[in-house]
């Protein structure tokens, strides 16, 4: 309850801060809209050359695409701004002021800044998602849809965990740039159906760096056939990654040397 009250304060401060920089607020909304247009355009053009992609028709692929736009919008709204600043806190020793507060440091540094502009984009992404669902030819029940939404939320949390795993090495490397850039280029792995990956690449993207699980696995579970193995894989890897992230975080804090990092 204390954490919920604290989060409501974060929301209030974030909205008032966003309204102070109005031009920036609108620039960010336009930027995310461009991201959506480019991604939808990419697949629309791709389907001019092929009727199916990794076993999915165009309407199924559009649900998949709109789902990763939704995950991206959720991430940008809740976590992204906070993730951006963490390497700087570590590098400059600013993390000190978060460590001494009487709340979980991980909670504080992950959720402090709520991106109000991205909240607007979240609504746009949601509209694209609903429109893609409306055009989906594959029949589905309300239960299946709710299950899919649950898996998408799991994908959103997995996305956060993976980004943290890429940021935490800053405790040892002093610069977060390389790993951060690497994480963003891995974003492409989220944006492709996992069935296109084979061999070692598939093994890497579904187990070691499980970016393919964020949206593609939920979409496969939704379009069917939903096998228990696929769902167990999703749950096991997500829990494993959470455990790894928490372990790395504790190790990182032990290696943290304050202002001289």
């Amino acid at each position: 309850m204390r954490y919920l009250r604290l989060y409501l304060h974060f929301l209030r401060f974030s909205f008032s801060r966003a309204m102070e920089f109005r031009l920036d607020f609108f620039f960010k909304i336009i930027m995310d809209c461009m991201f959506y247009v480019v991604n939808l355009g990419f697949y629309k053009i791709l389907f001019l050359t092929t009727p199916m992609l990794a076993g999915w028709s165009e309407d199924q692929t559009m649900v998949f695409v709109s789902s990763y736009l939704l995950v991206d919008a959720l991430h940008m709204t809740v976590f992204a701004s906070n993730m951006w600043w963490l390497p700087y806190y570590v590098n400059r020793g600013d993390l000190d002021s978060y460590l001494i507060r009487p709340v979980s440091t991980l909670f504080f540094i992950s959720l402090r800044d709520f991106a109000a502009n991205s909240f607007v984009n979240l609504l746009i992404a949601l509209t694209i998602f609903v429109s893609a669902l409306a055009n989906l030819q594959t029949p589905y029940t309300t239960g299946q849809l709710l299950f899919y939404l649950g898996c998408i939320l799991n994908g959103w949390l997995l996305h956060y965990v993976l980004q943290m795993i890429f940021i935490i090495p800053v405790f040892w490397t002093q610069s977060g740039k390389g790993f951060n850039d690497f994480f963003f280029s891995m974003g492409m792995a989220i944006e492709r159906p996992d069935l296109v990956y084979r061999g070692v690449l598939r093994w890497v993207l579904t187990l070691i760096l499980p970016f393919a699980l964020i949206v593609s696995f939920p979409a496969r579970l939704f379009f069917g056939p939903a096998t228990p193995n696929l769902f167990l894989h999703l749950v096991a890897v997500t829990l494993g990654m959470w455990g790894l992230m928490l372990w790395l975080w504790r190790k990182g804090l032990r290696a943290y040397s304050s202002a001289s990092s």
């Binding site: 031009l23 461009m34 480019v38 990419f42 490397t173 390389g178 492409m188």
Partner: protein, 267 residues
């Protein structure tokens, strides 16, 4: 030692100062993106049962996806924030006492990054070409690579101008990194870094080929891969050259206007 040489040598030292960053970036980013693009196209080639799509074999498509993101990286040089940060925090003041033209200095540091990534492109392309294409490597291919490298380097000056136009909005607005990201999305998509432009509908292509983005990215990539005829390569190069003075003049005008706004203290 003259100041341009000093600037280039200092920037080169900065690039390789964080070695882990450098290797993660160079190997991880380039190779992972390439593998993902190849996996996607391999799946499309197999599901269509074709050996050639849009004039590309799978090997040529792989080489395209090796070259296009690297070209984008070269164009982006020093990356977003190279000028706006200094405008924002008052760092531009240092150029009052430095005996250097501010934009000349910025161009040189930007091109040092571009030049460094150009070496990566030449090396990776040569290795990729030998691994992915069974045909013997000919002298004409080497000459095309050299011409393409020169082309991309000049294109980097054009992209620097586009980036400057975005960065200089910082004279009026607080936070402008979003404009750089928007430019990157548009340039990558309309330039053919995400998808070869030959896959775009013809009506769109007829407009896109006169925009700077296609001339900056698709032009040199198609030249290196030998996918464009000499006439097409020259047309693309001419479009790029035509855009350079336009962008240069726009940068000059905005710089002049922006300087009148500059207060010299951090915002």
């Amino acid at each position: 030692m003259s100041w341009p040489v000093r600037v280039v040598s200092t920037e080169l030292r900065k690039i390789i100062a964080y070695r882990s960053d450098f290797w993660v970036n160079f190997l991880g980013q380039t190779l992972i993106q390439l593998f993902i693009a190849r996996a996607l196209w391999q799946s499309i080639f197999e599901s269509n049962g074709q050996t050639e799509i849009g004039g590309f074999t799978l090997g040529q498509m792989t080489l395209y996806y090796l070259l296009a993101p690297l070209t984008m990286k070269i164009l982006m040089g020093e990356n977003i924030g190279f000028l706006s940060r200094e405008i924002y925090d008052g760092g531009l003041n240092r150029y009052l006492v430095w005996p250097l033209p501010p934009l000349g200095y910025k161009l040189l540091t930007y091109l040092t990054y571009s030049g460094f990534y150009l070496l990566q492109l030449a090396l990776l392309y040569t290795l990729g070409r030998l691994a992915l294409d069974a045909r013997p490597y000919e002298l004409s291919e080497f000459l095309r690579l050299l011409a393409g490298v020169g082309y991309v380097f000049i294109a980097a000056i054009g992209y620097f101008c586009l980036m400057c136009l975005c960065e200089m909005v910082a004279f009026w607005a607080d936070n402008t990194w979003t404009l750089g990201v928007m430019l990157r999305f548009v340039a990558a998509f309309l330039g053919g870094a995400f998808l070869p432009l030959s896959f775009f509908p013809e009506a769109a292509r007829n407009i896109i080929e006169y925009l700077p983005f296609a001339a900056f990215i698709s032009g040199p990539v198609n030249l290196i891969l030998g996918r464009s005829t000499p006439a097409e390569a020259l047309q693309s190069f001419a479009v790029m050259l035509a855009w350079l003075p336009v962008l240069g003049l726009a940068v000059k005008a905005l710089w002049k206007k922006g300087n009148l706004q500059y207060t010299g203290v951090g915002m």
